[in-house]
Structure formats: C-alpha cells, structure tokens
C-alpha cells in the first residue's frame, strides 16, 4: 500500500511539472492562437539561467526568482522580435518560425554555456527525504514541486478569471480586433501573455533542473508530452491543463510502475522486459486517443474555460 501511495506521489509530481509547461503552452496556443514549438527552448533557458544564477549568487532562493525574471524578459523580447510577425499567418508558418527558434536557442546555449550541460545543485536542506506518511519517505524537493505548482495554478486561475487583466486576456482571445478598437493596447497585452507563458516554461525548466537535467535540447521530448496534455485538457483551458497533467502524470508513472509486472504474468520474462518499457511509454498516447474519440475538443473545451 505504501508502495502504491509512493508511486501515486511520483505520478502527481510528474503531472505538476507537466502542468507548469503545459499552462504556458495552452495560454499561448489558446489565447494567441500561436503554435509555439520554441516553448521547450524557454524551458531550457529557465534551467540554464537558474543553474548560472544560483551558482553566481550562491543562493538557491535568490537565484531562482532572478532566473524567472530573466526568462520573462527573454520571452517578451522573443515576442517583440519574432512572434509578432507570425500572428495571423497559418499554423504551418508558426511551426516553421518557432522551429527555427529552437535551432537558434540550442546553438546560442552551446555558444554561451558549452555543449556539456550543467548541474543545478540543491541546498542541502532541500536535498533530503522526508516522512510524508509513517514509513513513507519521499524526496523533500519533489514535495516542494507539488506544493509550489498548486500555488502557481491557483495564482493563474485567479489572474485569468478574477482580474481585469485576465478579463482582457480572455476578451483578446475571443475577438482581438474588438478589444483593440475599445482602446486596449492589444500588442502590449500579447507581449505580456507571451512573457507569462515563457516565464511558466522557464519555471518548469528550473524546477525540474535539480532532479532531471540542464542540457541542450532538454525541452524537446517533454514538449511533445506537454502538447498531449493540452490536447487532452482542451486547448486554451488552464483548468483542463491542470486536470490533464495529473492524468498524464499518473498514467505514465503507474504504467511504468505496474505494467511490466502485469505483462510478466502473460508473457515470458525476456519478452516482458523488452516490451514493457515500449508499451508503457505508449500509454499516454492511448489516453489521448481515447479522449479524442470521446471528447474531440478535450476535457474542458475552450467554450467553457
């Protein structure tokens, strides 16, 4: 039982990390109608900024907000320099343009930080396992990820649903021209939304850095999963992204944890050992296919976001 709870926690924690990435993606995709493949690059930049600034300031708690700020600034700069030219064009142009940005950022990171990758070391007080239940020790940092992400989700929900800024963002999503005609600086609004999305991606990158990796191209694989999340959740819906992230995180982890053992009951040991990793990594795509069949618009379609 303890083991099962531990695996569930692993699933929730993975889901939280996915949410941070997917939230920014769904904001940009849903509200600005922009397919941003370079989201993974911003995720990478967040991690590199954090690794550099934490080492530079010698403080985790100081380096992280600075890195977040740096990613926000880079995100807004990217919007002004590159993304603006892409609005109103079709999605293929977005894909091409932002794919170019991926190559650009990968090479830029290679020039600045070198090809070897970096390590973001946690302060020792975070680098421990804590008892979350009697007999169940769980890495403290992973608990921190879960708690912080829930706070970020609440903040986002409040921002989009309860503030004037959020109202403008939602209005801009429905009718860009009308909002502009009413005297709102829609350009600035979009720059802000893109910066917010970038900061969320950077935050996901720096949060995962101490457990996973800081290296070139680190955002590319996880971006695919983030797209799966926003498709399942309903494009443009923060609430959908949250629920879908949890789903995907759980399905992926529980699949990896229990599927091989199930498979061993029906297949030979060797066949199971080879097939299980392949099949369990397919699970989230099967989940997406099932959701698309039942609810083609996703779990929380944009109409009722």
């Amino acid at each position: 039982m303890i083991y099962f709870i531990e695996q569930c926690l692993n699933g929730v924690q993975l889901g939280m990390l996915l949410f941070l990435l997917a939230a920014g993606l769904t904001l940009i995709f849903g509200i600005m109608d922009l397919v941003n493949l370079a989201h993974g690059s911003l995720y990478m930049l967040g991690a590199y900024f954090a690794a550099t600034l934490v080492a530079w300031t010698d403080s985790f708690l100081l380096g992280v907000p600075l890195a977040l700020l740096a990613t926000l600034v880079v995100g807004m700069a990217v919007e002004v320099v590159a993304m603006r030219r892409l609005y109103g064009r079709d999605h293929l142009d977005h894909v091409l343009g932002t794919f170019g940005l991926i190559l650009f950022f990968n090479e830029l990171v290679r020039l600045i930080w070198g090809p070897a990758g970096m390590t973001l070391f946690l302060p020792s007080w975070l680098n421990a396992a804590v008892p979350v239940l009697p007999g169940l020790y769980y890495p403290l940092y992973r608990v921190v990820i879960i708690v912080v992400t829930i706070l970020v989700a609440l903040f986002l929900y409040g921002l989009v649903m309860r503030t004037r800024l959020g109202m403008l963002i939602r209005a801009g999503a429905s009718n860009r021209e009308m909002v502009g005609a009413l005297g709102i600086n829609i350009k600035l609004l979009y720059t802000f939304v893109f910066g917010l999305g970038a900061a969320l991606a950077g935050f996901a990158g720096l949060m995962q850095a101490p457990i996973l990796t800081v290296q070139i191209g680190m955002g590319e694989n996880i971006l695919i999963v983030a797209f799966v999340v926003i498709v399942i959740g309903g494009i443009g819906s923060i609430r959908g992204a949250f629920v879908a992230s949890l789903f995907v995180g759980m399905v992926d982890t529980i699949g990896r944890a229990f599927f091989p053992d199930l498979l061993r009951l029906v297949l030979s040991k060797e066949a199971a050992a080879t097939a299980a990793p392949a099949l369990s990594s397919m699970m989230i795509y099967l989940l997406m296919a099932a959701v698309l069949v039942l609810r083609p618009e996703g779990l929380f379609p944009a109409a009722n976001r």
Partner: protein, 400 residues
C-alpha cells in the same frame, strides 16, 4: 571510337584552362596518397561530451604519431550520429560510398553500431569500434573486418557481479536503459552474480530521465544492492535522484559505465564511494598511459580523459600498426588484418591479446571516486578483479 567529337575552340578553351588548373593544383593529391579515416561518434545533444572526448583523444594520438601513418599523412572525417541508429547508418554509408575511407573508427552506442555494421562489412571496410560492444558483434555477427578496442558489453557488468559476490551481496535490483547495450549489461551482471535478482527494470532510452518510479520499486523490493547502467548524462540524473530519494546509505549502489570523467564534474560528491568497473583507469601505471593522460590534461586545460577517450587513443594506434605493416598500401587488407590480430601496439591499458572474434582479452579493474589534493573528484584503481577476461560469446563466432 572512329569519330572524334567535333569540339570548337570556344568550348575547348575553358576545358583546357580547367585542366591546367587541375594539374597545377593536384600533384599533392595525385602523388601523395593519404590514409583516410572516417570517425563516427555523437557530437551534438546531451552526450556530445563523450564524442568530444573521443575526438580529442584521437587527435592527441595523431599528434603523438606525428600526424602520419606509415609515412602517409592522415585525413580524418568526423561525422555526428546524433545518438540515433538511422543517422549513424547514413553517415557510415556516406563515409564508405562517397569518402571511400580506409577505416571507420568510433561508435559509442551499441544500437548505432549494430545498424551501421552491415554497410562496413559488406563493403569490406575495416571498422574499429572504440566503445560499443554488443553481444551480437562478439558472437554470430563477428566479422573479419571489425575489431574492438573496448570490450564486449557483458564483460564490465560481469566483473561487477563478481565484486558484488565478494562483498556478500545476496539480493540485487537491476536498472538500465532499454536498448542493445542495456540488455547486455543486465544480462552480464546476472550471469556472474550468485545471489538472487529480485527485480529488473529497463527504461525508455534515451529520453526517460525521471527514474522515480523505478527507484520506488527498487526501494520496495528491499534488495541488498542496486546495480545500474546509465552512460553519459543519464548517469548524472540517476545518481542525483538516487541521492534525493534518500537511498544513499540505505541500499548501496554498484555501477557500470555510469561514473566517468565526462560525468564526474556534474556528479561530484554524489559519486563518492560508488564502485564501478573498467578495463582502463586514468591512473594505470604504464608509460603510454602516463603520457596520454598528462598530454591530454595539458592540451585541454585541465580536463581529464575518460575511458571512451583511452579506447579511441588505442584505436588510432591499432590503425597505425596496420598501416605501418603494409607501408601505407591500404589495399592489402589481409595483411592489415593479420597485423591487427596481433594487437601489436602499446595500449594505454597495458598490452592485451585479441580473441578470434577480434574482441580484446584483458584485465578489468575496480575503480572508486576520490577527492584529490586539489579538491577535484577523480577515479582511481582499487584492485584488479579479473585478469585476461574473454567475453562469453566468442564460441558463437564462426570466424576461425
């Protein structure tokens, strides 16, 4: 041909000029043959550090050889396999078909090598693998045109299995990536480990970097030890997560190819006290090795070579021995093969012999991570675990 084609002088002139230019430019190319070596490794992405270490070591070996082999200048063409089998095969084909290289050296990844192997063997181009050692290559896929300056994948983990027996480990949990080498490694450790394997996990490779589910599983199985194989950057992530899960001190870790000079700068004290096995360690006391390590550190401002580099340094010297034996006439393939089978060069691991499957028969050492006087983390040799070890697939090789 009875009719000469009618060509006006207007057409002839440019041709003549081009011909004259070609004559003026080409004596070097026409008269002075070169030894052409294709080099395949990973030069992009997270594991590019390994490829760079291999290239640095190969270049250093060429420096030490005066950049000549058998009196001929050496030309090396480096190609990036992006850690992908299909890219590796494509680059191998390119080196063989359009560059017409005499040798192909490199290959970190067993799956990339297996995909590329047929092209080299079919075209009778010598391939020297300086890292990957899939079991198939030592057994049924062995070839007169393929040599290894590394090991067969199973050997290093087999050594770790022996060491685990020595340490009195009764139950073990095995974790590794799901590709050719990962399967070999886990099979290798299981073949010599006398205790019970209580669980075995293969993870998606190379993109799964979160091992939380596997670590939870290992903890729940309550083994005496965890054995793990994660080469390159994945080894950094594994050690980090193992530490954060609070397993260090609870369940000891035994490794193969998880801690080396390319990953140590990022693993630091997470790697302290975690044993590994290797056929080469940077402090092996032979003269060739001292020169290799010292010159590498000097040339690359303090960076240390890894076993990937050492094996690649050896590969350059193996190729050199063959070219010297035929005095630069690389068309004499049988003579070159006969020479290489003697392993007639000074290896930085100390001298070794080849089995009939062209895999080295060599010693394996236990290595440990320590802090040196300057506070750097370095690998050092602790003990010799096996001497003159031959891979367990050589009987399956049809070569005589």
């Amino acid at each position: 041909m009875t009719h000469l084609p009618i060509v006006s002088t207007r057409h002839l002139m440019p041709l003549a000029v081009a011909g004259a230019l070609a004559l003026a430019a080409s004596p070097a190319a026409a008269q002075q043959k070169t030894v052409k070596i294709g080099f395949i490794s990973t030069f992009s992405g997270p594991t590019a550090v390994i490829g760079n270490d291999m290239r640095n070591s190969f270049e250093l070996a060429l420096d030490h050889l005066g950049r000549k082999m058998g009196g001929l200048p050496v030309e090396v063409i480096y190609e990036d396999d992006q850690q992908k089998p299909e890219a590796g095969k494509q680059k191998t084909d390119k080196l063989i078909e359009s560059d017409k290289v005499d040798f192909i050296v490199g290959y970190i990844w067993s799956n990339v090598l297996l995909a590329s192997l047929k092209s080299a063997v079919d075209s009778k181009t010598f391939l020297i693998t300086s890292n990957a050692g899939p079991s198939q290559l030592a057994g049924e896929l062995c070839s007169p045109y393929v040599f290894s300056t590394s090991w067969q994948n199973d050997q290093t983990p087999q050594v770790m299995g022996l060491y685990m027996n020595q340490k009195g480990v009764k139950t073990a949990f095995l974790i590794g990536p799901n590709y050719a080498a990962g399967k070999d490694m886990l099979a290798g450790v299981a073949s010599t480990f006398k205790g019970q394997v209580v669980g075995q996990e293969l993870t998606k490779w190379p993109d799964q970097l979160d091992f939380s589910a596997e670590l939870s599983k290992a903890r729940a199985a309550r083994p005496d030890a965890i054995f793990v194989f994660y080469p390159g950057a994945a080894g950094v992530q594994f050690l980090t997560q193992y530490g954060q899960a609070g397993l260090k001190g609870q369940i000891p870790l035994y490794t193969a190819f998880t801690i080396d000079e390319t990953t140590l700068p990022r693993q630091k004290d997470l790697a302290l006290g975690v044993p590994g096995a290797q056929e080469w360690v940077n402090d092996l006391p032979n003269d060739e090795n001292k020169r290799f390590v010292a010159d590498y550190i000097k040339k690359h401002s303090g960076a240390r070579p890894s076993f990937y580099g050492a094996q690649t340094y050896d590969a350059a010297n193996l190729v050199n021995s063959a070219v010297v034996a035929v005095k630069g006439d690389t068309s004499k393939k049988d003579e070159m093969r006969a020479e290489m089978e003697k392993a007639n060069f000074k290896s930085v691991r100390g001298n070794f012999k080849y089995g009939k499957n062209h895999m080295p028969i060599q010693n394996f050492y236990l290595q440990d991570v320590v802090k040196d006087a300057d506070g750097n983390f370095v690998l050092k040799t602790v003990a010799t675990i096996v001497e003159n070890d031959q891979d367990r697939f050589h009987d399956k090789c049809p070569m005589k």
